[in-house]
């Protein structure tokens, strides 16, 4: 069994609960396990970066220092956490001033960071460590004929292209195909979901989301697969608000781990599919009978 150190990030404990549930369930059935990093703190995401970068980087570094004692790869499912932890890592490596400032701050808490943690995204681990072949062997209920738009969001591939292309990533496309789904061509796959602007300036944020949903439907998608809790939230939760302003049919928005989980034959509830706000029946109906 392979075991990873797990950095959930705040959303996976709140609005993105079903992402955590499905990720753990999927990994378990593929003989891998996540051990949660003890006493992790907020990564220092976008909002924090806008007000004080030094603080954001120092707080992110506390997580890296806590993780370093463990020597395993640190896996996060959230795009924003993934970016900020990687950003801190790179700034510490490149800039002596940052390194000195952070190491003094960490020293006072009894921590030290040498710079050796390998930060990974959950998608990267599933596709590149566990591998599509291993997953394919365990697929018992492929989602035949389910047309899915793969939506990556931005910060998993930008600015750092760590394991996939910055403008046309395909890692999730491949894992969705392995789950039996049909992946539609979706040119908006890395276009911004609006971030927190769906809440702060709805007239802008909701319009951005509307375009993403409309395009997915125009391409024939019956569902959108996401890999980031903020993307999933934005695309799913405001649909009725958007529909009151623009013409839009409901579109199920799930995590890629929920689709993979269904294909692996895991029960919908264990994958958190009951937490969906937009009904996911169009997806469940596509589950085929057991493949022997």
């Amino acid at each position: 069994m392979s075991r990873y150190l797990y950095y959930p990030g705040c959303s996976l404990k709140g609005t993105g609960k079903q992402y955590e549930e499905s990720l753990i369930a999927v990994l378990e059935s593929l003989d891998a396990q996540l051990d949660e990093l003890e006493d992790w703190n907020c990564c220092g995401a976008t909002a924090y970066m806008s007000i004080d970068e030094d603080e954001a980087i120092a707080l992110a570094s506390r997580n890296l220092a806590l993780a370093e004692c463990d020597h395993r790869d640190l896996v996060t499912p959230c795009n924003a956490c993934y970016l900020v932890l990687n950003k801190a890592q790179r700034q510490l490596a490149a800039d002596a001033k940052t390194r000195r400032r952070v190491s003094r701050a960490l020293h006072d808490t009894g921590l030290e960071y040498k710079g050796t943690v390998n930060v990974r995204h959950a998608l990267d681990v599933l596709v590149n460590d566990i591998g599509l072949e291993t997953i394919a062997k365990k697929v018992t209920k492929p989602l035949k004929g389910l047309k899915v738009a793969p939506y990556y969001g931005c910060q998993i591939v930008r600015p750092y292209a760590t394991f996939d292309s910055q403008l046309n990533p395909v890692t999730m496309d491949n894992i969705l195909r392995t789950a039996g789904a049909e992946v539609v061509d979706y040119p908006f796959k890395t276009r911004c979901c609006g971030g927190s602007q769906t809440g702060t300036i709805p007239e802008v944020g909701l319009h951005l989301v509307y375009m993403l949903l409309k395009e997915a439907q125009a391409r024939g998608a019956a569902a959108v697969a996401t890999i980031c809790p903020l993307c999933q939230f934005n695309l799913e939760i405001y649909q009725d608000k958007i529909a009151s302003k623009y013409e839009l049919d409901p579109l199920p928005i799930v995590y890629f781990t929920q689709i993979v989980g269904l294909a692996l034959g895991l029960p919908a509830k264990g994958l958190g599919l009951h937490r969906s706000v937009v009904p996911v029946e169009p997806i469940l109906e596509r589950r085929t009978a057991d493949v022997v």
Binding site: A47, S50, A105, D108, I237
Partner: protein
């Protein structure tokens, strides 16, 4: 009174122009060729009062007031589309971050404009608890910008409660004293640099 739209030498702040050139990621800003790839790749540019290209232009030439009072810096969601495409290697997203921080420092933004308020509330919560309790953050934001909007949020809250995605509690790390220690150390460092 109508405001002049033409900018002249008198509107420039050369200190600001020097400062922007020293922002990490903006080292090549003076080599900007105004090709507009940043604006073209920006999904938010259609909603902005000034396009990213215009903003880079104004910033590098030191038109401080125009830059810091622009909505553009707040509309940037840090999706990095411009940064990976800029042919001159300007890290436009990092420039936007630096401008946000500068605008907050100088109080140069509309007071009840929700985006900087969100940033401040976000930091406050992390400084105190080490983690974000999403539902509480949204509540604080609305309270400080437009309390009436809280009513509109009821249906959203109910959806989250029904699906078990609403957190009633406060998310908190165990060693909250670590946060205080880190912040104090950074503060000392800042004082030393200033001295």
């Amino acid at each position: 009174m109508m405001e002049p739209t033409t900018r002249t030498e008198a509107d420039r702040d050369s200190k600001f122009a020097r400062w922007i050139g020293e922002v990490p990621g903006a080292e090549t800003i003076r080599q900007c060729i105004h090709c507009g790839v940043c604006s073209g790749s920006c999904p938010l540019s259609v909603y902005m009062d000034r396009s990213p290209r215009q903003l880079m232009y104004l910033a590098k030439d030191g038109f401080k007031i125009d830059v810091l009072s622009s909505f553009t810096i707040w509309l940037c969601t840090s999706c990095y589309a411009c940064t990976v495409k800029c042919p001159r290697g300007i890290q436009v997203t990092e420039v936007m971050y630096a401008l946000k921080r500068r605008a907050i420092e100088e109080g140069a933004y509309p007071k009840r404009f929700p985006i900087p308020v969100l940033a401040r509330e976000f930091r406050k919560m992390v400084r105190k608890n080490g983690r974000i309790s999403e539902s509480r953050l949204v509540f604080q934001l609305m309270l400080r910008t437009n309390a009436l909007k809280l009513l509109g949020l009821t249906s959203l809250g109910l959806k989250l409660i029904r699906t078990g995605r609403f957190s009633f509690g406060i998310e908190k790390i165990k060693r909250t004293e670590d946060l205080k220690t880190i912040l104090e150390a950074l503060e000392r460092d800042r004082e030393e640099v200033a001295a």
